[in-house]
Every structure is written in structure tokens, then in C-alpha cells.
């Protein structure tokens, strides 16, 4: 009976993973179907023409460029703000900490539509209030950036904070004691220690920004991002060019993810080797 339940669980896990992956497989495969509707049935032969059509689509390229610009801007801002916030939270305590931390976390729970609308209304109102035609106060992708940062910064903050909590404050003191200035401590000791978390935060921010729809939709003005573009294509007449795009995005992100994973394992191996050496040195010491 116990064995049976284990087998059942194994089968379930297998089916579940199929459930997650098959839709993506179907979507990818449809990119090669020589059929005007994006589907795998009826299969009308293999073609690469949807990829050609995709590369010829200038709107797509513009949207693609916009997406990258927004994602890079969001990552940079979110890293700056999120890291600063993590350092702040890590050095305060009591009610102030609870309040600020709660406020930061709550941004993760605000629906994207609400963030989008509130960002849009506030900045345009400021623009109207000071009678400024400055671009900042008009709907556009810069407002999308600000809106996205408002919650993505919290993700960066959480990642950096987790790393900060394992940081030995003694290292800062040791550096100060050796004569380093505060700026040098920050640049040579604290930030290098945080880089892995900041890097992970940047990657998360980048992906979150690329896939964001809700905030962007309410703030973008007339500009397109890739997500918005794909969405409009799905709504209006679609051809399998979208599938071609989807397939390429999937492959790119998957390659990046696997690259990260390989890098992580490589670093873990190096660290293991170092610790093995330390153990050998310790054994040698004890033998004296």
C-alpha cells in the first residue's frame, strides 16, 4: 500500500511537469507549422517563414528595443533603491523597522493595475499642478519604469536583505580599523559581499520588467513593449510569427537560466575544493 502511494506520487509529479511543459511545447512547435492560424493542427508542413516574417516586423523590433530599455532602467533603479532599502532596514530596529519593512513588502501585494493607475494619475497631476509640459509628467514608458520599480525594488530588497543578514559586521570594523574610510568600506567590503544578491536581484528585476503587463498597460501612453505588442497581436489577427517570437524568447531565457545554474555549480565546486584544502591544512596542523 505504501509502495503504491509512492508510485502514485511519482506518476502525479511526472504528469504535473508534463502539464507545465506541453503547452509551451505546443506553442513552440506551432512556429514551424505552415498554417496561417497558430496551431499544431492541422499540420501543413515545416516552414521557417514565420521567423522571416518576424524579423521583417519593424513594430516588433521597436517594441523589443523599448522592452530592453525599460528593463535595463528598471533593473538599475530597482538595484539602487532596493539595495539602499535593504541596508537601511538592516541597520534599524523596533517600530520604525517594522513599519518601513511592512510598507516595502506591501508593494508586492498591490495589484499591478492599481500601481499603474496611481503612478499615472500622480505624475500627470503633478505636471498639471505646476503647468509643466515636461516629458516626465506625460504618460509614457518612463512612468512604466517608475511604476514597475515601485514593487520590483521590494524583490531586490528581500534578496539583498537575506544576504546582509549573514554579513559579519566585524568585517566593516576591521576595515575601518585598518584605516579605510567609510566610502572605501562600502566599495571594498560591503558591496562586494552583496554583489551576488545584487546580481540575482538585477536578473529578477530584468525578467519581471520584461514580463510586466499590468503596470505598463496603464502607464505606457502610446508606446509598445514586447508584452503589450504580443498581447495586441493575440487580440487582433494573429499569425504564427508570435509563436516564432515566443520560441526564441523561451530559448533565450532558458539558455540564460541554464548558464546561471552551471555557473552556480562551478562556484560551489571551487568553494568545496577550497574547504577540502583547509581541512587538509588543519589535519596537518594537528599532526604537529
Amino acid at each position: 500500500m505504501y509502495q503504491f502511494r509512492q508510485t502514485l506520487a511519482r506518476v502525479y509529479a511526472f504528469v504535473f511537469i508534463l502539464y507545465l511543459l506541453i503547452p509551451l511545447g505546443i506553442m513552440g512547435a506551432a512556429a514551424f507549422n505552415d498554417n496561417k492560424t497558430p496551431s499544431i493542427v492541422p499540420w501543413k508542413g515545416v516552414t521557417g517563414k514565420w521567423f522571416d516574417a518576424l524579423f521583417a516586423d519593424e513594430t516588433m523590433w521597436l517594441a523589443f528595443r523599448n522592452t530592453l530599455v525599460v528593463a535595463v532602467a528598471v533593473s538599475l533603479l530597482a538595484i539602487l533603491v532596493g539595495t539602499a532599502a535593504a541596508i537601511l532596514i538592516n541597520s534599524i530596529s523596533g517600530r520604525l523597522r517594522t513599519t518601513l519593512y511592512g510598507l516595502m513588502i506591501s508593494t508586492l501585494l498591490i495589484p499591478g493595475a492599481v500601481i499603474g493607475i496611481s503612478t499615472m494619475i500622480m505624475w500627470t497631476k503633478i505636471g498639471n499642478g505646476i503647468h509643466s509640459d515636461f516629458i516626465l509628467f506625460k504618460p509614457g514608458l518612463h512612468l512604466s519604469v517608475l511604476g514597475q520599480v515601485s514593487y520590483i525594488a521590494a524583490m531586490v530588497m528581500l534578496l539583498v536583505l537575506a544576504r546582509l543578514q549573514s554579513f559579519d559586521e566585524g568585517l566593516e570594523e576591521a576595515a575601518l580599523d585598518l584605516g579605510a574610510s567609510h566610502a572605501q568600506v562600502m566599495r571594498r567590503i560591503l558591496l562586494p559581499y552583496l554583489y551576488p544578491a545584487i546580481g540575482a536581484g538585477g536578473a529578477v528585476a530584468f525578467f519581471q520588467s520584461i514580463e510586466n503587463y499590468n503596470v505598463t498597460q496603464f502607464t505606457r501612453g502610446g508606446a509598445n513593449t514586447l508584452t503589450v505588442y504580443v498581447f495586441s497581436k493575440v487580440r487582433s489577427g494573429i499569425t504564427p510569427t508570435i509563436n516564432a517570437l515566443a520560441l526564441m524568447l523561451m530559448i533565450a531565457t532558458l539558455a540564460l537560466a541554464i548558464g546561471f545554474e552551471i555557473n552556480r555549480r562551478r562556484k560551489a565546486r571551487i568553494e568545496d575544493a577550497r574547504q577540502a584544502e583547509a581541512r587538509r591544512a588543519t589535519a596537518l596542523e594537528e599532526a604537529f
Binding site: 566585524g170 568585517l171 576591521a174 580599523d177 584605516g179 574547504q275 583547509a278 596542523e285 594537528e286
Partner: protein, 360 residues
């Protein structure tokens, strides 16, 4: 290059808690000085005040005669070796060692050269390009010392740096630390709760308890002539008798206990409450016949073999246990359990001392 350190009426409060109370001490240039005390006695606070991480609430700290008030840690001529060493895990060893030079703007080639010299000095010539996680505990210790020496401090502050090592290595590192201190001539201030460490390495020791410096003296004086019960009890073992002083004269006094009248040296301030008589176990001898002075009839209750000596525990008439230590010279005779003996000690080796100096 080394500098002396003066603490003048230094106090440090954390809220209503007084961590360090009116500390006065003059440490000579080139001296190896230890602060010894149990955890929470204020010794680490003193160290952090000297290094500049904490400002004293009152009083003055001078290094080389200069008032350190308002001087931040990175402006003081001190180098601190942390309890956990605080080596920078992301820098190779040579960058760790030359970090102090890097922040002073020394160019890379010179830094690299200096790091190698220091590594040679601490006997780790091949470690320059290793990472911290590749080193053993003892090797990390040496790197920490090299890193502190690299900035050519006038004063080295060491916060129990040996506590993470195992016993044998710790003893080896003691000798090495002492040798490095002699070779460089830098003033060492060493913090520890391990009396063996403090006594073995230091020129002078300051024993601390509850924020107050109880006694400052050479290791030999601390052990042989403790000024109060706390020092006597923290540094070494004692047989302790309670009672009251009678007929003091010429530095000696009688001491009435439940076991009769004993005689001993009378310590300063041995008045009023909490006065006891202290005598070391190695100065206590067991004889079959009653001794000339300070002789208490006892029954042997336990014999424990400690290697270099044998400790004999014996019960007096009032139930108090006295310990006599016999050097294990191969010929020592050990009484059987239950044997009747007399425990005696020389009055010159015993002292009547007040409890502890708590100020006021």
C-alpha cells in the same frame, strides 16, 4: 615604533548599565599587557574604546601621549585583531594583508611586496594567492596578525584571537605571538578570559570584574599576591576559610574560623563584610602529625590524579573540603581514602583578603 597608552578615569555607560567604571592604567610602550576577566567584565569594552569603536562616557584615553577624543577608528594608530579574525572572505590573502596599505594609496607592486614580506614573517610564504576559505584555523590566525602588522600600528589590540583554536595549537600560538611582539616591539594589548594565556604571555596583567580593574601587576604578583578574593579566585585555585580578623599587627593577623584560629598576612582593605582567608592548594600540605601553625584535622575523602600533580581532597570537622596538591615527582606518597591527617599551611603563603573591589 610603539606607543604607551594611558586610561584616566575612563567610564563607559550603556544606558543605565556601567560597563567600565573608572579605569586607570598606564601601559608602557612595547609592553605586552593583558586584560583578564570573565565575560561581561568590561574588558572588550575597554578594547573597543581604545580602538575607537566606542567613545568613553567620561575620562580620557591617550595613545603616545595624544588625547584620542573624537578620533575615529581609522584615524588611530591601533590595529585590532578580532575574536573571529574578520578576514575579508572575498579577497585573496595578499589583498587581505595589504588592505590597510591599499586604503592609504600605496601602489600595487609595493603592496604585493610588503604582503609577501609579512607572510614570510608569519611563516606562510606560499599563501599570497590563496583565499581565506583555503586556510586552517592557525593559518588564518597568522594572516590576521600579518594584516594588522601591515599598517605598522603603534599598538596592537587582540580580542581573544586564540579562542577558536584547539588546545595544542593555542599553546603553540601563544609562544609565537610573544615572539612576534618581542621582534616588532609593538605594544600589545591582549584581551582574554583564559588565565593561562594571560599569565604565560604578558608583562603585566589587569584583572577585571564587573567593570572595574581589580588589580594590575606582573603575572607572578597576580598569582602570588592577589589583592582580593576575586583575583585570588579567578586566577588559580584556593582553599577558602570564612571567619573574622583578630589582633592584627605588622601585616599579619589572626583569623577566627569554625576550625580554630588561623594566622595569615592581612591584605589591604580587609575590613568589614566578606573577608576570607585564602591559601593555594599547592601551599597546603597533609601531615600525619599536627603542624606548628595553621593545622586543621581532616579526613581524606577523594584523591584525583591530575598528571603533573595529585590533588587530595579532605574534609574538615565542619564539613568543609580542603584540597592539597602534591607534586607528582614519582616518590610522592598518597594517603588512602578515610585516612586521618592534618592540613597545614605556612602563614606567609596565606592571605586575608576583602571580597572584590566594586568601587564606591
Amino acid at each position: 615604533m610603539s606607543a604607551g597608552i594611558d586610561l584616566e578615569n575612563v567610564c563607559c555607560d550603556f544606558g543605565s548599565f556601567r560597563a567600565v567604571d573608572t579605569a586607570n592604567v598606564s601601559i608602557e610602550p612595547g609592553e605586552f599587557f593583558s586584560f583578564l576577566g570573565p565575560s561581561g567584565c568590561g574588558k572588550t569594552t575597554i578594547l573597543r574604546m581604545i580602538s575607537g569603536f566606542i567613545e568613553p562616557t567620561h575620562g580620557q584615553i591617550r595613545i603616545g601621549g595624544m588625547d584620542m577624543k573624537g578620533q575615529r577608528p581609522n584615524q588611530r594608530p591601533t590595529a585590532l585583531i578580532f575574536q573571529n579574525l574578520a578576514l575579508f572572505p572575498l579577497m585573496p590573502i595578499w589583498e587581505n594583508i595589504s588592505f590597510g596599505l591599499e586604503v592609504r594609496g600605496v601602489d600595487k607592486a609595493a603592496r604585493r611586496k610588503r604582503a609577501q614580506e609579512l607572510l614570510d614573517m608569519v611563516d606562510l610564504p606560499d599563501a599570497a594567492d590563496k583565499m581565506v576559505s583555503q586556510l586552517s584555523g592557525g593559518q588564518k590566525q597568522r594572516v590576521a596578525i600579518a594584516r594588522a602588522l601591515a599598517v605598522e600600528p603603534k599598538v596592537m589590540l587582540l580580542d581573544e584571537p586564540l579562542s577558536a583554536l584547539d588546545l595544542k595549537l593555542r599553546q603553540h600560538m601563544r609562544a609565537e605571538l610573544r615572539a612576534i611582539q618581542k621582534r616588532t616591539g609593538v605594544t600589545f594589548i591582549y584581551i582574554t578570559h583564559d588565565q593561562g594565556e594571560a599569565l604565560a604571555m604578558s608583562d603585566r596583567v589587569g584583572v577585571m570584574s564587573q567593570g572595574r580593574i581589580q588589580q594590575i601587576a606582573t603575572p607572578r604578583d597576580i598569582y602570588n599576591n592577589p589583592v582580593n578574593g576575586f583575583v585570588a579566585g579567578f586566577v588559580g585555585e584556593n582553599n577558602v576559610f570564612t571567619g573574622s580578623v583578630v589582633s592584627p599587627s605588622a601585616g599579619m593577623a589572626g583569623f577566627d574560623t569554625g576550625l580554630g584560629r588561623l594566622t595569615a598576612r592581612l591584605g589591604d582593605g580587609a575590613l568589614g563584610e566578606g573577608i576570607k582567608l585564602y591559601v593555594r592548594p599547592e601551599h597546603t600540605i597533609l601531615t600525619e602529625t599536627e603542624g606548628a601553625e595553621n593545622s586543621v584535622p581532616v579526613t581524606v575523602s577523594e584523591v584525583s590524579f591530575e598528571g603533573a600533580f595529585i590533588a587530595v581532597h579532605a574534609k574538615a570537622a565542619n564539613g568543609q573540603t580542603l584540597v592539597a596538591e602534591v607534586r607528582n615527582d614519582g616518590a610522592a606518597t598518597v594517603p588512602a581514602i578515610g585516612a586521618k591527617r592534618f592540613a597545614s599551611f605556612n602563614a606567609a603563603h596565606a592571605a586575608i583578603l576583602p571580597d572584590a573591589f566594586t568601587g564606591g
